[in-house]
Symmetry: C2
Subunit: 330 residues, 2 copies
């Protein structure tokens, strides 16, 4: 008989995340009560935010020891006691790190599948749309110099490709030679610097002779600090994530020059969360699918198999293992 | 015979500014060459930015040892070899810390005086308009909770009064009991906290039970850091100045939580410089004058007499001596 495997957070990590912070348990597959829907998970989205959720309350409750590990996922309805959902419906939401979940109607939304299901977890999913809406906020102009950090990541690679579509000069920041080559040769970035190379800032200056108009920041920390000093007047900084800060103890200090440099350079910094744009989701997905069809966006997915590998998939992502969107296929 | 007194920067301050960093010299009053205008200074504007200009290049060149001290001022044309300017014209620009200056036409603008001249250096001057345009960027909504730092300063007091006009709940941050009382009793602030009091943040929380929608930041530093954690989602931070950072050695670190908190709270931070809005200057002055006439804005000026007192006037301002706009009258 089929069982439900579930992964729980065992302990709040104080520094780097490891497998020891998780615990896997097996239980019976639950049955829906009135109004509930039973879902079989197909794909779990692996996101740096998963780690940030362990640090404290953000736009959602903190994940505490003993909690089922939270995670955005795509699933299929397999049993329903809710009239608004039918068996076979594809749904998405925080289904957690488990094979089966019981949800009420307000915890999930129907996924309007217009492409292959996995694509709805990558370029047509939260990370692809994060890139899309973030770049919308950046108000890109033709020939802008755009810098994207974590450029080979799920959000970064799409953000960079969108900036290319808009006629910008796009420079990526990434952490390996292999990813650098991939970004330039396969995705069409104009240049890439490797932040693990001591010369990265010098290299970046050379690649941005007209300085930086838009910085799409996925990492925060020292890279954020350095880039702020390279921005053009009236530059726009899209604050999408702070990956460098998630898998460590809270830092004792923040970036120098803030907010003075925001004033003197007349910068605008804008934070956002993709869920705030849910009303424009279908429109965004339509545009992204069109770009995929026209080969303007290359889909980069990094698919890991099996629920039991979910912790390692996240740990690896935090260490920069992935190229493009990392998913766990159940 | 009349002479020109001039104040030069003698040495770049490494920490707090003192009179020893300046040197006063006396010279002949110069004569205009073809195209030039000779101006007698009436009022010198004392601004925290004067100190920031000594720290390095910003939106203007650094003031270096040996340079005439820069400063925005209002003056009267007393001799002219330029057809676009007549004797008696009121002009403004960076006339520097001196009684008389020779300028070419592109270094000054004619002041369209619609009120008493001193008012054109306070509420109708760069500081009043800084408050005006900054609050325009804040997109104030009725009942917003607005916090203003350096609230008794030239910009802060007007910024707070404008937010009151717009129907907001306005809380000031200032550094003395006397200034706190003045802000509440005379300017109509809803509450004030004294940042020199160890309980200031606790007091601020109590005064902002619905947290903070708009923070008009004149100071940066620890206050900026603390306020960021009290912002509401979708809050707006107007980065106007970083007074806490000007009169000291450059700090080793910046505010914690940046940029992570910008993301999770979906904040927008916006830096600006009043000169960027020069095309809307007359419109702003008209509105400000109307508010003054209707007693919606109380004019607060702090006028020091005599060029030789200009260094002390700036040093005092950096130490929080002034209430409202500090000017030196020559």
């Amino acid at each position: 008989m089929l069982k439900n495997k579930q992964i729980f957070l065992k302990e709040t990590p104080q520094d780097k995340l490891s497998n020891a912070h998780f615990e896997i348990r097996t239980s019976e597959i639950p049955s829906p009560a009135d109004g509930q829907i039973l879902i079989e998970t197909l794909y779990i989205s692996i996101d740096a935010a998963n780690r940030a959720w362990m640090q404290g309350r953000t736009y959602r409750d903190q994940i505490l020891p003993g909690n089922l590990m939270a995670g955005f996922a795509l699933g299929k309805v397999i049993e329903t006691k809710n009239n608004n959902f039918n068996v076979g419906d594809m749904v998405e939401g925080d289904l957690g790190w488990q094979n089966y979940s019981l949800k009420s109607a307000n915890e999930i939304v129907k996924a309007r599948i217009i492409s292959s299901p996995n694509l709805h977890m990558s370029v047509l999913g939260i990370t692809g749309r994060t890139a899309y809406f973030g770049m919308q906020l950046a108000n890109l102009k033709n020939k802008d110099t755009v810098v994207v950090s974590a450029a080979a990541g799920a959000v970064g690679n799409v953000a960079g490709q969108i900036a290319k579509i808009k006629g910008c000069r796009v420079i990526g920041i990434t952490g390996s030679k292999e990813k650098s080559q991939w970004l330039i040769q396969d995705l069409g970035f104009d240049g890439v610097v490797n932040y693990k190379n001591g010369n990265w800032l010098k290299n970046l200056k050379e690649l941005c002779p007209n300085k930086i108009d838009v910085y799409f920041d996925n990492v925060g920390g020292d890279i954020f600090e350095s880039i702020m000093f390279r921005m053009n007047n009236y530059g726009r900084v899209i604050c999408c994530g702070a990956l460098s800060q998630y898998d460590r103890a809270p830092p004792k200090s923040g970036p120098r020059g803030i907010p003075g440099i925001i004033v003197t350079k007349r910068l605008s910094l804008r934070g956002f969360i993709v869920m705030d744009f849910d009303d424009q989701k279908e429109e965004a997905n339509k545009q992204l699918q069109e770009w995929i069809d026209n080969k303007k966006i290359l889909v980069a997915e990094d698919i890991v198999e099996g629920l039991e590998n979910t912790p390692s998939a996240l740990i690896g992502l935090l260490n920069g293992e992935n190229k493009g969107k990392r998913l766990v296929k159940l």
